[in-house]
């Protein structure tokens, strides 16, 4: 097939404008496809990553938007198989402009590092010593050009107070790269000791004990004024994503619709291009080019256009998210969108299918058209 490469290449350049426009349209569709299909795929990956976690999220039955009494902590910590407990209260908060928002969470300085030991924390000692200390995820550090030792102010949104915080360390390996944690004692003092907790994060000694610990926790607080719902970290993350489940499905559907639409456009373009060359194809066949070779040459042209378009679209999607580190705020604090390699692979397979299917019928028909009839027509 290499000896036909020049012929394929020259035919691609036959109508440069049409080839370029087709490549661009396929690139744009694959760009959209890669972005939209990344959302659910990335969610599934995050869920898979958290499946081995030994943490339990204990929050009210009504959902983690409603607080629990801080007093539950003692009972939670005393439950068999519980290794450590860290509280979490969502403070919200705005840094500078209204658009400069990221999750700010108040937590236990003493136990946070024990519960989240896999998150790559730095500055933990300072965090334990300084009341106004905070740890910032590395994505947020980059986003606002922050550095350790810097003092920042957070304006309250859920609570009507402003906090002055000192960055003492970072969080490197959390599933989300855009959040800030600060000390719960500072929070209590600032907002007037409400003694509330949104979530008790409970670390269990073994993942096999997760179900029984979760059940024990909920049993303890059954029939109380604030009944709890305890679930594994994977289930908790899943419940967050369930809130945007419809959006993810719609995104996936839009991605597919775009690809099908562009596939039809590519098919029309391929049909036009092949129709224009019926005479040349007839001449080549009269020279002895078998129908099979003609068919493969036409398919190869279409495939080349589709794969170039696919590669451009995937590179653009990957590069855009890489360079600008776009955060998927819509998905909450746990994830930051990036395109998984599997989606890039899927997008290239889709590009290949566009190339194959769009040219298949016109190429087959052109490669088998009656030579004499075609020559008579062009004469």
């Amino acid at each position: 097939m290499t000896k036909y490469a020049l012929l394929i290449f020259k035919n691609l350049l036959r109508s440069k404008r049409r080839t370029i426009l087709t490549i661009i349209s396929i690139a744009v569709s694959l760009f959209i496809f890669a972005l939209l299909v990344s959302l659910p795929t990335f969610v599934n990956q995050v869920l898979a990553d958290t499946s081995s976690s030994v943490r339990i999220s204990c929050h009210t039955k009504m959902g983690w938007d409603y607080p629990l009494p801080e007093a539950y902590r003692v009972k939670v910590a005393a439950t068999p198989h519980v290794v450590a407990v860290a509280t979490a209260v969502f403070f919200g908060g705005i840094y500078h402009e209204a658009s400069d928002q990221f999750p700010s969470i108040a937590t236990d300085p003493e136990t946070f590092a024990d519960v989240f030991s896999d998150w790559g924390l730095s500055g933990v000692d300072q965090f334990k010593k300084i009341k106004t200390a905070c740890l910032v995820a590395q994505g947020t550090m980059r986003r606002f050009n922050l550095h350790v030792g810097q003092q920042i102010q957070i304006r309250g949104t859920l609570f009507p107070v402003n906090l002055t915080l000192n960055i003492v360390g970072t969080v490197a390996n959390a599933p989300s790269q855009d959040f800030l944690i600060f000390r719960s004692d500072y929070f209590e003092e600032a907002v007037g000791n409400p003694h509330i907790v949104d979530i008790f994060w409970v670390k269990v000694d073994d993942s096999r004990n997760l179900p029984q610990v979760a059940a024990a926790l909920d049993r303890q607080f059954a029939n109380s004024s604030s009944e709890t719902r305890s679930e594994s970290e994977a289930a908790f993350v899943g419940s967050i994503f369930a809130r945007v489940g419809i959006f993810l499905k719609v995104a996936e559907l839009i991605g597919l619709v775009v690809v099908v639409a562009i596939g039809l456009v590519a098919a029309n373009t391929a049909a036009m291009s092949i129709r224009e060359r019926r005479g040349e194809i007839a001449v080549m066949r009269s020279m002895g080019f078998p129908s099979r070779v003609i068919f493969l040459l036409l398919i190869a042209e279409s495939l080349a256009i589709a794969l170039i378009g696919g590669a451009l679209g995937c590179s653009a999607a990957f590069g855009l998210l890489k360079v600008f580190s776009l955060n998927a705020d819509i998905l909450g604090p746990i994830v930051m969108l990036r395109i998984p390699p599997v989606v890039l692979g899927e997008a290239m397979v889709v590009a290949m299918l566009i190339g194959l299917l769009s040219a298949c019928i016109p190429a087959y028909s052109a490669s088998r058209r009656n030579i004499v009839e075609t020559l008579r027509m062009i004469d």
């Binding site: 035919n11 080549m284 002895g288 062009i378």
Partner: protein, 261 residues
């Protein structure tokens, strides 16, 4: 398998083997087309024989079946009934794959409107039929250069068809037809789209290919001026073979021009 060749190395020879006596043999060939609900009989029970290594013309008025006959000889059309044999091979029974391979090996086609691929240079156009062979790149180059040199276009190899005159384009088409060293060159109105001077040049070139290299050339033409270049003229009218003339002399019926039953 293509025979390696070079026009410079080809030696004229008068040794015509028995097989080569008849380059083309048509026996009781009929070709009927369907046009809407009508059957059109383009060729009606034609039997004729074209000797090898001759430059012959098929002439007749429009609609006489000249091009149909040429298409059958070139293997790009099938007879409705009867037998067509070229170079000793019966082609009317070949399937699509066999006939494609046969055309690549034995037929060089020249069209009225040249039919060069516009995005390819003269060199690349001539190289096209060689892509079907096992020749490597440098061997293909040698063949293409020899063919273009033979038609007097060695200095136009890098030119695209749009950069050539009509006569030059037809020369490239002839180079494309001869580059595989085919058994027969079939030309459908090769001078039909050319001015008188270019037409004469093309006819001289075909004559030279026939006389120097003993190529069998079967040409369909309307042009009465072509008659003085060819050795035999076959005349058709309304799909019927009405006779042949050799050297301006009516020779039909002549045993040598009739197929051996």
């Amino acid at each position: 398998m293509l025979r390696p060749w070079s026009l410079e190395n080809m030696k004229p020879t008068d040794d015509i083997t028995k097989e080569e006596l008849s380059a083309v043999t048509l026996s009781h060939v009929t070709r009927t087309y369907k046009r809407d609900e009508f059957d059109v009989r383009a060729l009606d029970n034609i039997s004729l024989s074209i000797p090898a290594k001759r430059f012959v013309a098929i002439m007749g008025p429009s609609g006489s079946g000249k091009t149909t006959l040429l298409n059958l000889v070139a293997g790009i059309d099938h007879a409705t009934s009867g037998r067509v044999a070229v170079g000793g091979e019966e082609i009317s029974t070949m399937n699509e794959r066999e006939i494609s391979a046969w055309r690549a090996r034995h037929i060089g086609l020249v069209f009225q409107f040249y039919n060069l691929i516009p995005v390819l240079t003269a060199f690349e156009n001539v190289e096209l039929p060689l892509l079907l062979t096992n020749l490597n790149k440098s061997e293909r180059k040698t063949h293409v250069e020899a063919a273009l040199k033979a038609v007097g276009l060695a200095d136009r190899m890098g030119h695209y068809p749009r950069q050539l005159s009509g006569g030059q384009e037809q020369r490239v088409a002839i180079a494309r037809a001869i580059v595989t060293d085919p058994t027969i060159i079939v030309a459908d109105e090769p001078t039909g789209d050319l001015d008188a001077k270019s037409a004469e040049e093309i006819l001289n070139l075909l004559t030279e290919l026939n006389q120097q290299f003993h190529k069998t050339i079967v040409m369909v033409t309307h042009d009465p001026r072509s008659e003085r270049f060819v050795q035999i003229v076959y005349r058709l009218d309304k799909g019927i073979f009405v006779g042949a003339e050799q050297g301006g002399r009516y020779v039909e019926p002549v045993a040598s021009l009739q197929p051996q039953e």
